[in-house]
């Protein structure tokens, strides 16, 4: 791992932040350890569980695999950037209302994956939602109610 430090400007949740970072530092390390934004979770640090999912230019990426240095001119969204103050986003609201979360450890990743997916697919089928979530593990819910939550949002959009 490189120990060379470099100055990088990251655009996170609409805010530009200048940071001195190790070249090998991951986005997950940067947001959690440098910026104290702990909403993105570390479930495996190996790119499998999806708890660290963030959006880079609107696309879900694994924060534990993405290098911060590669994200300097891109727009990054973490779970902290999804709600508007106390107003939850529709998918956050639906996850709470429809039991899409239990322990909540996978939830940030689920919310980000679904936010990106629903933005591109406002009227999905259940099967499409399930495929969109194929890279996010949850040990508590059995997934069913996460899909319910997404479908409720989709129905609200199309209503």
């Amino acid at each position: 791992m490189s120990t060379d430090k470099q100055v990088i400007t990251l655009n996170i949740n609409g805010e530009s932040i200048e940071l001195l970072l190790d070249g090998g530092e991951t986005l997950l390390e940067t947001v959690r350890e440098q910026l104290g934004m702990t909403g993105s979770k570390r479930g495996c640090n190996q790119g499998v569980c999806g708890a660290c999912t963030m959006l880079v230019d609107g696309e879900p990426v694994r924060g534990c695999l993405a290098l911060s240095s590669a994200c300097s001119d891109r727009s990054i969204t973490t779970i902290e950037g999804i709600a508007d103050g106390l107003n939850l986003s529709p998918i956050q609201e639906a996850m709470v209302e429809h039991g899409g979360l239990q322990c909540g450890f996978c939830t940030s990743g689920m919310v980000l994956t679904l936010s990106a997916f629903l933005a591109e697919n406002p009227k999905p089928t259940r099967e499409q939602v399930r495929h969109a979530l194929s890279g996010n593990l949850c040990r508590c819910t059995g997934y069913t109610k996460i899909v319910h939550a997404a479908m409720h949002v989709a129905e609200a959009y199309s209503a």
């Binding site: 959690r32 104290g36 934004m37 702990t38 909403g39 993105s40 979770k41 570390r42 479930g43 495996c44 640090n45 190996q46 499998v48 569980c49 708890a51 973490t78 779970i79 902290e80 999804i82 709600a83 939850l88 956050q92 609201e93 996850m95 709470v96 209302e97 429809h98 039991g99 979360l101 239990q102 322990c103 909540g104 450890f105 996978c106 939830t107 940030s108 919310v111 259940r126 099967e127 399930r130 495929h131 979530l133 194929s134 890279g135 996010n136 593990l137 949850c138 040990r139 508590c140 819910t141 059995g142 997934y143 069913t144 109610k145 996460i146 899909v147």
Partner: protein, 772 residues
């Protein structure tokens, strides 16, 4: 008095949902303190070895390293629940590969990990005991040489590497085999499953100026952490304060200690806060797993389907330390009869040490394993008798006021209702499966009945009335994700007729919470629910006493009114708000209103006249619960792949306090059960090394591995002692799944699998062997 959307029986969204949905909820690794150091550990390279020496000098020289601890830094205290056999860190010996041997605290994580690599430990290798057969061999090397000197909570027999034996028998099984018209016999083998809570274990400790320590950790009980850490560090519990942030799942895996003692010791050694969070691989290697069990079972019936005999012999692989294994053994032995009135039963169990990770409590507590054997044999008997499996189950099912093995009365039994509910829900499913089968894609439906329990141990709760009529609920209950904060708040809100929003839920803290044993054994709704209800009712009584004096009327003329009022029956405008009553109590009469309640599960114990019992770790377990599950599979006979298409899960929950959350527990447990049935298995190599300690190599179900169709069927046979009639249910939805999958595979393609998990390879081999 109905309370839409807040009261018991309604789908109240969880009260901590918003903080979880926004990422604001802090879990252990999200916490930090000023001046905090980071911890790392050194893990044993051997499965079984004597520790000859530690060389920590290079590590200590590394800039930024503040403390190194090894077994030499601890008092020789052994911990454990039923058998005290486990030191706080390896001492003198290592007993599994990966066992923590030393720990480091440094200013940053990289330095701590580097320092850990610089610690040199010299070992003298000892022969490994890795399999149950090796462990049972009287000639094998002893893993615990001092077994006979260890403190034992209850008497039991032991010898060699067998640390505990337990048995129960009723009737005379040896005499009746000749009376049986049909007998089935088989051997089953289950695997080690990892709990795989998504949040790896971690702890943060802060030394206090009074010589004490404050510990936050991912755990299922702040009180268990306090008690065990205090014991290991030989400190009074008054100096050990234990707290818990949000917990990212537990399932039993966080029910005992993991690294709390080491983190506390590091913090005290360098007088700075220290945090340590396990990596996913470390969590696999050093916490605990579900027990692999080898089960030999024999069941006999009459031609009319009456079950008359069952004999069970099982060996549990407990790994290197006892942990809670004696209790798991006890429960597995006890529940192996199943929910049937079988008059002649003998159930024997042995628990052995091996040089592998300790096994411990895991959702179902030994029950999914024995249910696999039991419910396979029910289907096999039905097949031999050419009888419908449902009919056989119904014929032999326990009913309300029947006695359990050992004599305990079953006060409320919804088993038959679960079976009826299941029959309705799956009507036509078998025909659909048969119709959809092709020559190489065989569909089938399998069923499993199940029984479990909820209860045990003690708990207490406080409800405080605040000045504006809000109430503060204080319990020591840890919500590990299942939703107890919400359920318990609903109970208080309902019993005081206030909205859930007017109830605050206090985070567990050993300095200020009343005692609760732990979040385990499906006991929180039943046990803590009872005590929370008791405390709320206590508040209600005090409100009425005040109101009677203030309104100058008899208490029996008063009623509770929605929104937090006490009024005179039949007089609409004669009422007082909780705030008015609280004001009087706080300023003038009586003092602040607070209700408390405390209880221990003290149901009947086993009847020695009825059953011969030996080596049981506990003798009264709680309230019995029942269920019926069904699974539809499609077996690809070319590849052996088993795809689960539909699952139905009927559970008698007594009363669903929050039906949506009951469904959530059912769905989650079913999917964990499918992991156990089909893909999950911890595999150790010949040196005792865990071969697959990553999420890449240890496969838990992802969304595409499980069906979208999981139907939860809620049956409510009110339990007389339960809060609003409720019983526990969170483990139950996992218990019958491996058996139902096994029966579904047999139904689909006629082969019987007896070793978990049912991988494609095993299915294919079974198909080949059967010439199918």
């Amino acid at each position: 008095m109905s309370m839409p959307n807040t009261a018991v029986g309604h789908d109240v969204p969880r009260i901590d949902g918003r903080e979880k949905a926004t990422g604001a909820a802090a879990f252990i690794d999200d916490m930090s303190l000023p001046g905090m150091l980071y911890g790392a550990m050194v893990f044993s390279d051997y499965a079984h070895a004597r520790i000859l020496s530690y060389d920590t000098s290079e590590a200590l020289k590394l800039p930024g390293v503040k403390a190194v601890i090894t077994g030499d830094d601890f008092d020789a205290v052994l911990g454990g629940v039923f058998l005290k056999d486990e030191p706080p860190i390896a001492m003198g010996k290592v007993r599994y590969l990966g066992e923590p041997v030393a720990a480091v605290a440094a200013t940053d994580l990289k330095t701590a990990r580097l320092a850990a690599q610089l610690i040199n430990i010299e070992y003298e290798a000892l022969p490994n005991v890795l399999s149950v057969d090796e462990a049972l061999d009287p000639k094998s090397t002893l893993i615990h040489e001092d077994l006979s000197d260890y403190f034992r909570l209850k008497p039991s027999s032991f010898e060699g590497n067998i640390l505990w034996k337990a048995s129960i028998s009723e009737g005379d099984v040896d005499q009746v085999w000749s009376d049986c018209d049909v007998i089935v016999e088989g051997e089953f083998q289950t695997q080690a499953q990892h709990h795989l809570y998504m949040e790896p274990c971690g702890a943060l400790a802060k030394p206090e100026q009074n010589g004490g320590i404050t510990i936050w950790s991912s755990c299922q009980s702040v009180f268990i952490v306090q008690q065990k850490v205090a014991d290991y560090l030989q400190m009074p519990m008054a100096k050990v304060r234990s707290l818990v942030p949000h917990v990212g799942g537990g399932f039993g895996g966080k029910g005992g200690l993991h690294i709390q003692t080491l983190v506390a010791k590091l913090a005290m050694t360098c007088s700075r806060p220290v945090k340590m969070t396990l990596t996913r691989t470390e969590d696999f290697e050093i916490v605990r797993s579900r027990h692999p069990i080898r089960i030999r079972m024999k069941t006999g019936a009459k031609n009319d389907g009456t079950l008359i005999a069952r004999e069970i012999d099982m060996v549990l692989d407990g790994g290197a330390y006892a942990d809670e294994s004696p209790a798991v053994l006890n429960w597995a032995v006890f529940v192996a009869r199943g929910p049937y009135n079988i008059p002649n039963v003998r159930s024997n169990g042995q628990l052995v040490y091996t040089n592998k990770l300790r096994a411990g409590p895991y959702r179902g507590f030994g029950n999914p394993q024995v249910t696999l054997a039991g419910e396979t044999q029910i289907d096999e008997i039905a097949q031999k008798l050419d009888m419908d499996g449902f009919k056989l189950r119904q014929l032999n099912a326990v009913k309300t006021n029947d006695a359990w093995i050992g004599g305990q009365n079953i006060d409320a039994c919804g088993f038959d209702a679960c079976m009826t509910g299941m029959l309705e829900a799956t009507a036509g499913a078998e025909a659909e499966a048969a119709a959809a089968s092709t020559s190489n894609k065989r569909r089938g439906i399998g069923y499993s009945a199940l029984t479990h329990m909820c209860g045990i141990q003690s708990t207490s709760a406080e409800v405080h009335l605040r000045a504006d009529g809000s109430v503060a609920l204080v319990t020591g209950v840890v919500d590990i994700g299942q939703g107890s904060n919400t359920i318990l708040s609903q109970i208080v809100a309902d019993s005081l007729a206030i909205p859930v929003e007017r109830v605050s839920f206090a985070a567990p803290d050993t300095d200020s919470s009343p005692y609760n044993w732990k979040t385990a054994a499906s006991r929180t709704t039943y046990m803590s629910g009872r005590s929370v209800l008791g405390a709320a009712v206590n508040v209600r009584e005090q409100l009425f006493t005040h109101a009677g004096e203030m309104l100058e009327c008899a208490e029996h003329d008063l009623e509770l009114r929605e929104g937090g009022f006490v009024g005179v029956k039949g007089v609409a405008d004669a009422q007082l708000s909780f705030a008015q009553i609280a004001g009087r109590a706080m300023a003038c009469v009586g003092g602040p209103i607070a209700g408390t309640d405390t209880l221990v599960f003290d149901g009947p114990t086993l009847d020695p006249k009825r059953a011969i019992v030996d080596g049981f770790a506990f003798t009264n377990v709680g309230i019995y619960t029942f269920g019926m599950q069904a699974v539809e599979v499609e077996v690809d006979t070319d590849t052996g792949e088993v795809k689960v298409l539909r699952v139905w899960s009927a559970h008698d929950v007594g009363r669903a306090i929050n039906p949506a959350m009951v469904d959530g527990q059912v769905h989650g447990g079913v999917v964990q059960g499918l992991g156990l049935a089909l893909t999950e298995e911890m595999v150790w190599g010949e040196n005792g090394n865990l071969i697959n300690p990553t999420l890449m190599d240890y496969k838990i179900p992802g969304i595409l591995d499980v069906p979208d169709f999981i139907q939860s069927i809620i049956i409510e046979a009110a339990e007389p002692t339960g809060p609003y009639g409720a019983k526990g249910m969170a483990e139950n939805s996992l218990v019958g799944i491996p058996a139902a999958v096994s029966n579904a595979i047999a139904n689909a393609c006629g082969v019987r699998l007896r070793s978990l998990p049912f991988t494609s390879e095993r299915v294919l081999r079974a198909l080949d062997a059967a010439g199918k």
